[in-house]
């Protein structure tokens, strides 16, 4: 019985071992079946190539505005926005008659102003004096005249002067007599006092005589412009200045304005009312139409093509970081017109959104006025972890990747899957550029998997 039991036990043991053997294979097969098969890739560290495209137009480096005196009537306009013109071309024609009347009005206005108002700005004015007590017979100059030093300004009444001088002489004689008498009467004090008077009167007389000698004229003491005449014909001169002369006269603002306006009007009249273009190029702005009255601002703005072509555009805020002055970009304007490696010359913040950018363009194919596009690819300075699209499950700007760690297991090398999260910065080429990935560069990333993956699963890499 024992032998039977023993031999049965031996047989059972054999069966047990056999079963284990079979299960070995079976379990391996089952587990292998359940194990996802994955393909892997590594993390590439690359700069993001960011493509920037900005639209804009080709303009001339220099914009020439054309101003016309305001208040004139336009009879004809020959150009419009976008017209291409050469230097000296007719832009518009003014109504000549209207112009003439406006000019006349202006001149009159100036005259009147000069007469009345304060035509001269405050400045250095030299006063001209003459002996007081004489009658003015004639004023030779008027306000605003240019005079030279020594030019007669006022003529005095000579008859009046003569009579004055005679009277003075008579008075002097009698005063002298009186004095002599005083000396004789030993009244030296009174005599001295009187002497003084006499001397003074004598001086005055001398002065009057000198005036008589040079014909009773008051001369300007300096060259300049007569800014004020302070006396009229027929008045008696007084102590104060009779005229003011300014060697560096400045017209008061108002007078100046009037003067300039008259100049402009005269200029406009030069070319029979035609306003011609000062430069060749393209009209970028034409503000006037036939029948309008000219106004204050520029009537035309001409892109001066000889000054060079410039691409201008507005760079939106989010792209601004990729461009900076000095970068080489490529400008292309429809068709095959393309200029490569043009340098950005200017970037300024325009109040509001974006930034104005200017890129001088040297190309024969690209013309003024073309709509153009600035294209450039900028490599970021930083290198980002980049992974192909298929490795990352993206949700908005967050992404999840799976990676594999190797370990020594009982069956040899085992590969376990872990998940890691990251943020997607942007797409570059056919990869995502990621930040916050937190994995070492040698980490093996899962690319494709035959089954859904979860953290901690064991997998088989292909």
């Amino acid at each position: 019985m024992k032998e039977n039991m023993k031999s049965r036990a031996v047989k059972l043991f054999g069966i047990f071992l056999g079963a284990m053997l079979i299960m070995t294979i079976v379990s391996r097969m089952i587990v292998t079946q359940k194990m996802p098969v994955v393909t892997t890739t590594g993390i590439k560290s690359e700069s993001i190539a960011h493509r920037v495209e900005v639209g804009g137009t080709i303009e001339a480096e220099k914009q020439t505005p054309v101003f016309i005196a305001e208040g004139l009537r336009v009879s004809e306009v020959f150009v419009k926005q976008g017209s291409k013109i050469g230097k000296g071309a007719h832009l518009l024609r003014l109504d000549e008659d209207y112009l003439a009347s406006v000019t006349a009005d202006a001149e009159k206005e100036l005259e009147e102003f000069m007469e009345k108002g304060d035509a001269y700005a405050d400045g250095d004015r030299t006063p001209v004096f003459t002996e007081s007590g004489l009658r003015v017979s004639q004023i030779c100059v008027k306000k605003g005249d240019s005079v030279y030093a020594g030019q007669p300004l006022i003529r005095l009444d000579t008859d009046y002067l003569y009579r004055k001088i005679s009277d003075m002489e008579g008075e002097l004689d009698s005063q002298r007599l009186t004095r002599d008498g005083m000396y004789e009467a030993e009244d030296s004090r009174s005599a001295d006092a009187l002497s003084k008077q006499i001397d003074e009167k004598q001086r005055e007389l001398d002065r009057y005589n000198s005036i008589w000698d040079n014909g009773g004229t008051v001369y300007s003491s300096c060259g300049g412009v007569v800014t004020d005449i302070l006396i009229k014909a027929g008045d008696i001169t007084m102590e104060q200045a009779v005229a003011l002369v300014s060697s560096s006269p400045e017209l008061s603002g108002e007078a100046e304005r009037l003067r300039r306006r008259i100049d402009a009007l005269k200029k406009a009249a030069e070319h029979m009312g035609y306003i011609n273009s000062p430069a060749g190029g393209i009209i970028t702005e034409a503000a006037l139409r036939a029948g309008d009255l000219t106004a204050d601002g520029a009537a035309f703005i001409i892109s001066d093509e000889s000054s060079g072509k410039v691409f201008t555009g507005i760079v939106p805020d989010e792209e601004v970081e990729y461009l900076k002055v000095g970068d080489k970009v490529s400008i292309s304007a429809g068709g095959n017109a393309r200029a490569k490696d043009q340098k950005i010359s200017l970037m300024t913040r325009k109040g509001g959104d974006g930034c104005r950018i200017e890129v001088p363009v040297e190309s024969d194919d690209i013309k003024l006025g073309d709509m153009a596009e600035l294209v450039t690819t900028k490599l970021s300075d930083e290198r980002y972890d980049c992974l192909p699209f298929e490795t990352v499950t993206a949700e908005g700007d967050k992404g999840k990747v799976f990676y594999i760690t190797e370990s020594e297991g009982f069956l040899g090398k085992e590969y376990t899957v872990h998940s890691a999260s990251c943020r997607i910065k942007e797409e570059t080429g056919n990869m995502y550029a990621l930040t916050d990935l937190g994995l070492t560069p040698e980490t093996i990333i899962v690319r494709t998997s035959s089954k859904k993956l979860a953290e901690g699963m064991k997998v088989r890499p292909e």
Partner: protein
């Protein structure tokens, strides 16, 4: 006539004793058949002590084989270590026997000067715990380039002194004349061993095999020291790598580990007893 005891009190004591002795084993067999939910009460306090102690359902409410399924179907690594164990133990047993039988025969039959001394050396080294010779064995194995290979475990065990000792006991009982007469009849020593020694000493050899198997199926220190790759571990080392946090798997694999041992025990119990007795009677 020996008085047989009235028995009952003694029987009861024995019964209690046996139950107490078997209790851990019963647990080891029952627990794996419990479902995860029940095992949670038992195992989770070990992992995460939150004031609740381990509770054991002696009779599972929902017996299930899910732990075994988990182990036997979904853990191919278990088979790896199982066959590792079997391979190593089987290899050791085979060569151990091949080496020890002749040596034991020589000890039992020969009479040469150094015999006693050599035998005593064997016995002395048999007595030493592994750790004493651990270092020196490591150096030798390392020098041979066998570290981290199964041979590092197999070879020293093959040349162990213990089987020689046990089998020697088995041979020592054979009367000298039997063997001598055979040789006079013209047999050489190998034939004497083969035709006389082996049959007569069979029980000793089997006892040695059984005892060695039970010891080797269990071995922990040698593989722990000499093997590094987990892929080479025997079953006895795989079990400790599962902690209480994978307790279900551990219980199931422990139960499976028991099975070969039980088989061997059942098959070889008689020889085992005989061998134990034989090794005791004479010294």
């Amino acid at each position: 006539m020996r008085k047989k005891a009235e028995g009952l009190p003694l029987y009861i004591i024995m019964a209690v004793l046996c139950t107490a002795v078997l209790f851990p084993v019963i647990l080891a067999v029952i627990l794996p058949f419990q479902a995860h939910t029940e095992l949670k009460d038992t195992l989770s306090p070990l992992v995460n002590f939150t004031g609740k102690y381990s509770r054991i359902d002696l009779l599972p409410q929902y017996p299930s084989a899910e732990n075994f399924k988990e182990l036997l179907v979904y853990s191919p690594e278990f088979y790896r270590v199982f066959w590792n164990s079997l391979l190593m133990v089987g290899g050791i047993l085979l060569f151990q026997t091949l080496v020890a039988v002749p040596a034991a025969w020589a000890f039992a039959r020969a009479e040469f000067k150094g015999r006693r001394l050599l035998f005593n050396i064997y016995v002395i080294f048999m007595l030493m715990p592994f750790q004493v010779t651990m270092l020196s064995q490591y150096l030798v194995l390392d020098g041979m380039g066998l570290m981290n290979r199964r041979l590092a475990v197999i070879l020293p065990a093959v040349f162990s002194a213990f089987p020689v000792f046990l089998i020697y006991r088995g041979f020592a009982d054979i009367p000298r004349d039997v063997a001598d007469s055979a040789r006079i009849d013209g047999a050489n020593e190998w034939q004497v061993l083969r035709y006389i020694g082996l049959p007569l000493g069979k029980s000793g050899i089997l006892a040695c095999v059984v005892i060695s198997f039970l010891d080797l199926w269990n071995m922990v220190e040698q593989p722990l020291t000499f093997l590094r790759d987990k892929a080479l571990y025997p079953l006895s080392l795989y079990l400790p790598t599962l902690g209480a946090d994978r307790g279900e798997l551990l219980l199931a694999s422990a139960a499976v580990t028991l099975i070969p041992a039980v088989f061997v025990f059942v098959i070889g119990q008689e020889e085992l007893e005989r061998g134990i007795i034989a090794s005791a009677l004479k010294e």
